[in-house]
């Protein structure tokens, strides 16, 4: 009976959860820390970017570590969003809000990443290009929101990750974890926004 069953559904959900942390979340963290170099001014930033870009086989690494995982996570995530039905107006609980913000931030992050990659990876990828983009107030808001929502999505995703993988089981451990992740959110946001201020 159970032998003939094909649990692909379960597998893809678990893969989706895993990809959010490895490699996507780790990449996000690394990326934001690396970008602190922008605080050192245009020359330093362009030099760091140049080194990364000229890395041999960088495109293969990018494909395997960044693009494909994000694509899979985003496409399946869109399906997850489609199969949800928010009722936050009747059940106004913090976790229910987080549930819906997780979905909204996911969608926003997809749009943000497309713009961001188009602008900086396949565009000029220079200090000046981003500086120009955020000199427009709407551009700045779009960017700041993108950074914050991507971080939220990652950090709140970590909370769900701990439940999905059976790490935090009881209500107490889940609560402690959410406070700890609150601190992580603040720290990562500080890094992300510091990156951004370099371009103002």
């Amino acid at each position: 009976m159970s032998i003939t069953q094909k649990p692909y559904h379960f597998l893809i959900r678990r893969v989706h959860s895993l990809l959010g942390l490895v490699p996507i979340g780790l990449f996000l963290t690394f990326h934001m820390i690396l970008n602190l170099s922008a605080r050192g001014g245009p020359e330093m930033y362009d030099k760091v970017i140049g080194t990364m870009r000229n890395f041999p086989g960088i495109i293969v690494v990018e494909l395997i570590v960044i693009f494909i995982p994000i694509l899979v996570h985003a496409i399946y995530g869109a399906w997850v969003v489609y199969t949800s039905q928010s009722n936050v107006l009747d059940y106004k609980y913090a976790r229910n809000w987080f549930y819906i913000i997780q979905r909204i931030s996911g969608i926003y992050t997809i749009i943000f990443i497309i713009t961001h990659v188009y602008l900086l990876r396949f565009g000029e990828a220079s200090f000046a290009a981003l500086q120009h983009f955020v000199s427009n107030p709407y551009g700045l808001i779009f960017y700041a929101l993108g950074v914050l929502l991507a971080i939220f999505h990652f950090v709140n995703g970590l909370w769900a990750f701990a439940i999905t993988w059976g790490i935090a089981i009881g209500p107490h451990s889940q609560k402690v974890l959410s406070y700890a992740l609150g601190i992580v959110f603040v720290l990562l946001s500080a890094v992300g926004l510091t990156d951004l201020t370099a371009f103002l």
Binding site: R14, T83, N87, G170, P171, Q174
Partner: protein, 250 residues
Amino acid sequence: MAQQKVIHFKIRRQDGPDKPSRWEEFDVPYREKLNVISCLMEIQKNPVTSSGKKTTPVVWECNCLEEVCGACTMIINGKAKQACSALIDHLEQPIVLEPLTKFPLVRDLMVDRQIMFDNLKKVHAWIPIDGTYNLGSGPRLAEAKRQWAYELSKCMTCGCCMEACPQVNSRSKFIGPSAISQVRLFNAHPTGEMNKHERLAPLLDEGGIADCGNAQNCVRACPKEIPLTTSLADLNREINKFALDRWLRK
């Protein structure tokens, strides 16, 4: 003479599954310590709306009248709960009554919760003890564990958790937290444990445990205070091991 105190109701009416829905308002004379069911009974005796129009009696379901059967579950002032234990003195007026939205409507406040029972069958939420000969007495359950399991066994399949869960809807096949929590209950039983895999396997399917989105509304909506989210997380740990083990043995 002082005006008589009334209880004001606003009820969503619908004559059948494919009929249009409408609101009707009713005033029930106030008495102390009434609950929603006793008011619905008053309306049944005299089905006249607050504007004096004669109407059909409101249809609803109830059975135990002590919050153990789950039949009277409906949406009261926006949240799913049992009408029999919803005390008028604790409710804000007008008291708005609506049928549950996650189940097919039968009429007025009555819905068909069959899907929940089908889900219990899907996950084998029972312990098979029938045989061709007497199997003798089973292993004993430690008292501490029995007390713990009793909490999980209080589920009355009422559907409050299904109603509150954003993952249970027409676009999703999610079986909801109650049936999943029953898997934990029956797998914890020393006899039930013998068929553990028969309950875990269906949870790997579409609509199974992986479809939970961790909104954690269910645990707050459950009138029996069943630790649903703990059951979900605990079974997540179990099922990851189970799925990996089964795959590695293929």
